[in-house]
Amino acid sequence: MATETWYEITVKVLKKHKVDLVTYVPDNVLRPLIELIHADPYFTAFACAREEEAVGITAGAWMGGRRGIVLMQTSGFATLPNTLASLSVPFQIPTLMMVSERGTMGEFNIGQQMVARTMRPVLDTLMIEAHTMTRLDEMEFILDRSMIQAWATQIPCCYILSPLLTGGKVFAA
């Protein structure tokens, strides 16, 4: 049996936990996941103009009884500290985020690299549960357990997709 890809595992766990609303600002590495989600009528999925908006929509949906997740790249996460610190965290809304980690392991763009370095300090400062996912065999466990924890604790959760897991974006040397 062929092994499941990271994006197939993600879709499986989202369905298991009835997360059917997906908002995002696109990223190249996330492309197969976004395509898979759009192809599946289970999901309501759409791109937003900004990541803040994508978080606002899933926060409203959560309060209304519907589960969602926000997909973005590291640069997108860098636009979010204000929203996380004034909406998700103080209101105890378990915002789920999946961030494709750019700016590391083969990046060519110093802008991406610097921005990426701001992500973990922000997550730590806001006491947001964060997991860097590097291995296919651990992925389902991390996604599954952390979602359960997010609902239970009402603390947001951020899944960081390492290039070790996704292959990242490959640039010519």
Binding site: L21, T44, F46, C48, A49, R50, E52, E53, A54, V55, G56, I57, T58, A59, G60, A61, W62, M63, G64, G65, R66, G68, N82, T83, A85, S86, L87, P90, F91, Q92, I93
Partner: protein
């Protein structure tokens, strides 16, 4: 929908009204099941002052997110109507959200803009809405075709009532004066959220 005289397309054609009065009229008009999201700024405070309405959600920060939060509630609760109340300064920070609402054809969402041409809560500094940025015209440019200024109070009430008659999304621009709000919203986020979720029946016990 036919364009009528009570729904002008230009900001200058709209009467300058009172925020407290407009919100009072809105709250009196809509069913208890409907949800209202109050953005930051003085709009939020007057929403609180008008009535402790259980299905109101009050933001405390995250400037510009009343419309996205309202859209999220609308996506989760397709059987009720959701009103997102936002200040002009706040909306100017997150203009893209109107394109998202329009593209998704969020039929059960009405955006109400309280446009005083200023950032009142931070000291009344002039906002771009007072320098030629017409938020109704911008909404239309985003594809939100049912966007109009409320000519006066009666027109405002008519437009609020439309929410339950014709599918949205819809945006109502209201020109308002610079009057201070009557009260200040309680600043206890988990409780504000909890009340809202229980009122919606999402949380029980």
């Amino acid at each position: 929908m036919a364009l009528n005289v009570n729904q002008p397309l230009k900001r200058e054609q709209a009467k300058v009204m009172s925020r407290f009065d407009l919100i009072s009229r809105m709250v009196a008009k809509i069913p208890d099941e409907d949800a209202v999201v109050g953005g930051i700024g003085w709009t939020n405070f007057d929403l609180w002052a008008v009535k402790r309405r259980p299905r109101n959600f009050y933001m405390l920060g995250s400037m510009g997110l009343a419309v996205p939060i309202g859209m999220g509630v609308a996506l989760a609760q397709p059987d009720i109507h959701v009103f997102a109340l936002e200040g002009d300064g706040s909306l100017l920070m997150q203009l893209g959200c109107m394109a998202t609402v329009a593209a998704r054809k969020q039929t059960n969402l009405t955006v109400v803009i309280m446009d005083n041409g200023a950032y009142q809560i931070t000291g009344g500094q002039r906002a771009l809405s007072d320098e030629g940025a017409d938020l109704v015209a911008i909404a239309r440019g985003c594809g939100l075709e049912q966007a109009y200024w409320a000519a006066d109070e009666d027109a405002f009430e008519e437009m609020i009532a439309l929410a339950h008659k014709e599918p949205g999304p819809r945006l109502i621009g209201c020109r308002i004066d610079k009057e201070k709000p009557r009260e200040t919203t309680e600043r206890d986020p988990p409780i504000l959220k909890d009340r809202f979720m229980r009122a919606l029946g999402v949380k029980q016990g």
